[in-house]
Subunit: 109 residues, 2 copies
């Protein structure tokens, strides 16, 4: 019961710009839904759905305080994206990529 089994993909979770804004918003402070939904032009229900996706991906944690539920950033799953990006570091260099393209173009035609 340690980790809540990622159902929603982390990549999919951060695909939506609204959810990316939510993560930045929840980075500094813990917030209840009412406060969060005031920052976005949509219903509380819609905000709650987005929070549920983020929670499924393990990107936010929920904590009950009295009658309100507070959400907070949990950045650990972002490591998966970081690792994925690391694979492409070897292709990052513009000059190297350009050279490789040039060589193959030359040998093909």
């Amino acid at each position: 019961m340690a980790e809540p089994a990622v159902r929603h993909d982390v990549f999919q979770a951060i695909a939506d710009p609204t959810r990316r804004s939510m993560l930045k918003l929840l980075a500094d402070k813990e917030m209840p839904i009412a406060a969060i939904s005031q920052c976005f032009p949509m219903t509380r229900t819609a905000v709650n759905k987005h929070l549920h996706v983020l929670s499924d991906a393990g990107l936010v944690s929920r904590r009950k305080v009295g009658r309100e539920t507070r959400y907070r950033l949990r950045p650990e799953p972002l490591a998966e994206i970081k690792e994925w990006l690391a694979f492409f570091d070897q292709y990052w260099d513009d000059r190297l990529a350009a050279l490789q393209r040039f060589v193959e173009t030359d040998s093909d035609e």
Copy 2:
């Protein structure tokens, strides 16, 4: 006419696992659609659509060689994701985050 105006978001482009596989596949070598679609359990048309999304995001380049179009990785737009992730580096440290949570919990209740 330098850059092809990103219509599809980069975050959205890498949200699909098929497209992520395509990027890895196209990292090493330039490939035509026929060869690419042999690597995925779907129609050439579907593969072409995914490639179109990647192309819109600037993540692949297309080059016509005779009657075939070859695709190749263009990793530059991934920098946007890297920058976005960099924002969360300050919240990365588990101990720091735990401490912050503890402090706020204490002061709240």
